[in-house]
Amino acid sequence: MSAAATGATAQRVLWQVRRDRRTAALILAVPVLLLVLMRYVFDGEPQAFQKIGAPLCGLFPFILMFLVTSITMLRERTTGTLERLMTMPLSKLDLLGGYGIAFGLLAALQATLVCATGFIALGLHAPHGAWLVGVLAVGNAVLGMALGLLVSAFAETEFQAVQFMPAIVFPQMLLCGLFVARDSMAPVLYDISWALPLTYAYDALARATSPAPLGAALVADVAVVVGATLACLAGGALTLRRATA
């Protein structure tokens, strides 16, 4: 693994984002606008806005990075640039690391904007500090990136890659406990929810945005999210083949 190759890749991904200003604007503006929209949808129910909106600030980057990474990596696969990179002195970790740094920075920027909007302008509470939500958000972004990288191997077109969003992200959003407490779901769904990484990502955010002391449960949540991220990255690295048929 080389720092130069990792850095060069991170910079290249950021160049691509900068060239595509409309996508960059969407990445930064859409979550902020959605949060403002939610604030007024829940106009008469401020407790519900706090319960859903506050953790959501840390989940937006997960959704975004899943989408952006799956499409960017799919493009690398279909345009032949991945094959070219695989013939060059670049390790898979350099490529994954470069993506991680570039999208991690973008996620940090997005999380800062969303958290500033939510916790300053819209009056959401973060009893343990908005910074904690921001840090969790960047971790979730890296999880989204790892998952997007993995699923990009199973899509042949960008259209298919976009379909993974409702197929893989939406069920996790429904089952993670954000909208309905998990223990009031049908028992089979409750059982399934234990196996989904977003459940732990949400649980950490719910603890970070409620006044109860944080405790060991937060550490356990973070450990599961980190473990799931590493597992997805390892799976994604396996799909980056040097030799193909």
Partner: protein, 238 residues
Amino acid sequence: MAEPAIEVSDLGVTRGERQVVTGLSLSVARGSVTGLLGPSGCGKSTLMRSIVGVQARVTGTVRVLGRAAGDAELRPRIGYVTQAPSVYVDLSVSENLRYFARLLSAPGERIGELIETVGLRGLEQHLVGALSGGERARVSLATAMLNSPELLILDEPTVGLDPVLREELWRTFRELADDGTTLLISSHVMDEAAECDALLLMRNGTLLAQTTPQELRELTGEHDLGRAFLAIIRGRAA
């Protein structure tokens, strides 16, 4: 004599259920320009991919610069240009070259030299996606030459190019070979065969002949290399 740059023996490649390359053996001398000729679909690209080490399901042996094809140590020593230009369409010409130069630890001044070589001066700041097919192919070609590799594998590098530029590129290939670089260049245009030191003629996944332009003409009594190739195919069939 020095060890050949490429030595292939009894290469076989299957793709899906189909055997796309069968029993292929050849060698490519160091510092030569070798033309790989044959109709579209005859296995030229598959052979090139096997040499670079990106082809899966390969049997037989492929030795490149004294090592097994695909060896990690070979990666900085080989430049490979695929038939479809593999560069970032959402970056400019110069951003593409700067990125790959950093990956290949190539000196920055190579970028300017190569932009000149492939005739892209004035287009440095243009997005690759806004260029013509031939221009994109030249960005892809320049990328492979950034770190001055010992072996260049070029899959149809001159398709769709202006004849003047095509001639200039062939002159560049010749100069590189004179400086010791080995070039394996595929083409389906027989008039490019005359520019090569050695020729590999392929058809239906097999090697018809390993020869030189001179030898091919003498063997078949045809001055035109296209007709000579045809004579070889007919001779085989007879």
